[in-house]
């Protein structure tokens, strides 16, 4: 755009006193997003974080495939001008791309040319801070774009202009709540979860009207006294600060009208301070899509004491065995086990099977009927009792997305091994809004096997047999990359500290292409089509826990301390 064009077409719109939207050009012929489109998204679009309600991170597009991916070249890039960890996928609706960045900014771009259309930049309150400044994506519905803000405020933006249509306070950030997850649109309502598990919040999922921003329902993930599950909080008042945050977006089964949402660690971190199983921490909860009423749940580990959030919702995958098909849920859990669960018609969740996908020293066994693990108490930290556990608190995998490809019937898992933590709890006075886990950050005692031949890895499992088909090992890096898999037989991801963006053969794991970007990639890639051309897009911008862990690894094994930060959107296509 020339300067003259800029002057002619741009305005600075002061949408409210606390935010601005820079509009560089009008969006014409915007395609409103409907529930029907979300249930059956067009292959050429990427309308939600995981690409579809089943959470597959899969696109059927195959113009870019194993034969031509070696000719993939960048066609445009865009600097976000923002530091810290970029963790949002490009969301694309008929040629318009929506990016979110740390500090809750939203940028609309022409998906084919990279031209800026508008930018929403909220002003965070004075004195504001958050443990993680990231954001994991916007949601689209109707003619609006929805952003769950760090400061606990959900905003509905005009998709064409970026102007704030409404804003709704979900929670008071001063109490320790904040939001980093992408909203999930279900049956015309905007669902959000909250972060704050390190600050003693009480988690919930809340739904908002898309036009007015009024609350429609709110379901807590820790029951109050008298509610089902409250007997699992045996010490009075511990439920009030019990955690079970809901910081990643859920998935949705339209057939049974059930939302599956993950919950985080219990709070504070040491289970002896809150006796009981502590429902619904470290669980998947099944919620009615209309009312939010809890239909069922599955808790991965009880009396959570390892900071093993199970915040990622399981993928909706059908399993095939002995000629029978099971409507299932598949989840590589942070606790290091891969779970096969059953979706019951009433929305309930039943356990089928689980197997470790990384070495784990906490579970002695898992009850084959209930899925309840037997815990080795030698590896369960408590107040005044130090204990080492592996994998460490970042788990077999943290939040980065796994992927499922229906063509290969494989699940792909970005994971990490050979790391542990050794924690000892203390009873701490709670100051709302301050870290309150029972252990200070200098005392986390993260360790690794310094002689290990690798730390990060990328694994592929056959979902029906549970057999590992292939894996790639990263000797010099942890793996923090979300995955994208495609109908072209490809798997795209970054996640390593060498700034690389890679494409693998989804069947064999062979690396077919790579490109060194500006920074480390921890954001999910997405793919879309405009005017008959398929593009693959990703934000490169290292930060947050990946950077923190990299700093620890520099001390432990001498890795380069700093991975350059600063966000850039990269868009690739096959060169002609």
């Amino acid at each position: 755009m020339t300067r003259k064009q800029w002057l002619l077409s741009s305005v600075v719109a002061f949408t409210t006193l606390v935010s601005t939207a820079v509009v560089a050009g009008p969006i014409e012929n915007y395609s409103p997003v409907t529930s029907a489109r979300l249930e059956n998204p067009e292959p050429g679009n990427w309308l939600m974080t995981r690409g579809n309600y089943k959470g597959w991170s899969y696109s059927s597009l195959d113009q870019i495939n194993t034969s031509n991916v070696k000719s993939l070249v960048p066609v445009w890039s865009f600097s976000t001008g923002v530091d810290s960890g970029h963790e949002a996928p490009p969301i694309v609706n008929n040629g318009v791309m929506y990016i979110s960045t740390p500090y809750s900014q939203v940028i609309a771009l022409d998906a084919a040319t990279g031209d800026l259309l508008w930018r929403y930049k909220p002003k965070l309150p004075e004195g504001f801070s958050a443990l993680h400044n990231t954001n994991r994506g916007v949601a689209l519905y109707g003619d609006k774009v929805y952003m769950a803000g760090l400061d606990g405020v959900l905003v509905g933006l005009d998709a064409k202009t970026g102007k704030v249509v409404w804003s709704a306070k979900v929670e008071d950030w001063k109490t320790g709540y904040y939001m980093t997850g992408a909203p999930l649109v279900v049956k015309g309502k905007i669902l959000v979860g909250v972060a704050g598990g390190e600050f003693g919040v009480r988690g919930f999922v809340q739904a908002f009207d898309p036009d007015s921003g009024k609350s429609a329902w709110k379901t807590y993930t820790v029951p109050a006294p008298g509610e089902p599950g409250s007997d699992t909080w045996q010490k009075p008042d511990t439920w009030k600060t019990g955690g079970a945050s809901t910081w990643m977006n859920g998935n949705y089964d339209a057939e049974s009208n059930t939302v599956y949402w993950g919950t985080g660690n219990a709070s504070p971190w040491f289970g002896d301070q809150r006796p009981g199983d502590n429902l619904y921490t470290a669980s998947t909860v099944a919620l009615d899509g209309d009312t939010g009423k809890m239909k069922g749940y599955f808790q991965y580990h009880q009396n959570e004491s390892w900071d093993w959030d199970e915040m990622n919702a399981p993928m909706l995958v059908d399993f095939h065995k002995d000629g029978a098909t099971t409507k299932g849920l598949l989840k590589p859990a942070r606790n290091g086990y891969l779970y096969w669960l059953k979706r019951n018609p009433d929305g309930g969740i039943s356990y089928i099977n689980a197997q470790a996908y990384v070495p784990q020293n906490v579970f002695k066994s898992i009850d084959p009927k209930t899925g309840r693990p037997e815990i080795d108490m030698a590896h369960k930290p408590a107040t005044g009792k130090a204990a080492q556990f592996c994998p460490g608190l970042w788990g077999g995998k943290d939040w980065p997305y796994e992927a499922y490809n229906p063509k290969t019937a494989m699940v792909y898992i970005p994971s990490n091994e050979n790391h542990c933590n050794n924690l000892e709890g203390k009873v701490e006075e709670r100051v709302p809004g301050q870290w309150w886990t029972g252990v200070a950050i200098p005392d986390l005692h993260f360790s690794v096997d310094t002689k290990a031949s690798f730390y990060g890895e990328l694994q592929a499992y056959d979902v029906d047999s549970g057999k590992r088909v292939w894996r790639n090992l990263y000797p010099g890096s942890m793996m923090w990359g979300s995955l994208l898999t495609t109908g072209g037989g490809l798997l795209f991801t970054g996640g390593t500290n060498d700034r690389e963006f890679r494409a693998y053969d989804a069947k064999t794991g062979e690396q077919l292409w790579h490109f060194k970007t500006n920074s480390g990639i921890i954001a999910p890639p997405s793919t879309y089509e405009v005017n008959g051309v398929q593009y693959v897009a990703v934000q490169s911008g290292y930060g947050v826990d990946a950077a923190f862990q990299q700093g620890l690894m520099s001390e432990l094994v001498g890795w380069q301390k700093d991975v350059p930060q600063g966000g850039v959107v990269w868009v690739f296509a096959v060169s002609k």
Binding site: G127, S129, E429, F548
Partner: protein, 191 residues
């Protein structure tokens, strides 16, 4: 890390005058603070009240601070009794060291080894309320930046770009008291 609900604690409400417990310590008769006084930055002759611990809400005396760390969190309290807790940027950390262990610059601001810094990390604004026994230093509670309390809170590790702003101190009958305002900008400079 978001949050400072203590700002809304019944005992710390804006424009509140601390009552009987502190009345003997007040140099001036109680009077209503001007609007916004509780949000103003610490000023000379302010003292401090503990944010947490057994002496929560009580005025900080030098002898209350463990020699050699760790730090305590505190808010300034104006001479009229207004606790300046209406702005999270006013949160302060206090610690006490052997004066000979301090650099000249830090000793010049300190009062009998007591040092005061902004608790707001210059990286992302989180409270610097943790202590490393190994490093004998302040640690930020979000991203583990490490600051040297004996040397002007210089950054010795982690992502913070600048030291914490320091307050000049004096002792009045053993009570830790502000002598000079913050040495630099408090909190983050971007975003």
């Amino acid at each position: 890390m978001p949050g400072d609900d203590w700002l809304h604690c019944h005992c710390y409400r804006r424009r509140t005058i601390l009552g009987l417990a502190l009345a003997p310590l007040l140099a001036l008769p109680a009077r209503a603070a001007e609007e916004g006084e509780a949000a103003k930055p610490p000023a000379p002759d302010d003292r401090f009240v503990f944010l947490t611990g057994p002496k929560k809400e009580q005025v900080v005396r030098a002898e209350d601070l463990a020699l050699g760390g760790p730090q305590v969190q505190a808010y300034p309290i104006a001479p009229d009794g207004t606790v300046r807790n209406d702005n999270r940027l006013n949160l302060v950390i206090l610690a006490r060291f052997d004066p000979t262990a301090l650099t000249d610059e830090t000793r010049a601001r300190a009062a009998d080894g007591v040092v005061a810094y902004s608790a707001v990390c210059t990286h992302q604004g989180c409270p610097v309320n943790m202590w490393s026994k190994e490093r004998n230093a302040f640690v930020c509670s979000c991203h583990a930046s490490v600051f040297d309390p004996r040397n002007a809170a210089e950054v010795i590790d982690g992502p913070a770009p600048r030291p914490l702003a320091a307050l000049g101190l004096k002792l009045k009958d053993g009570v830790v008291t502000v002598a000079s305002t913050f040495s630099g900008r408090v909190g983050v400079t971007q975003n």
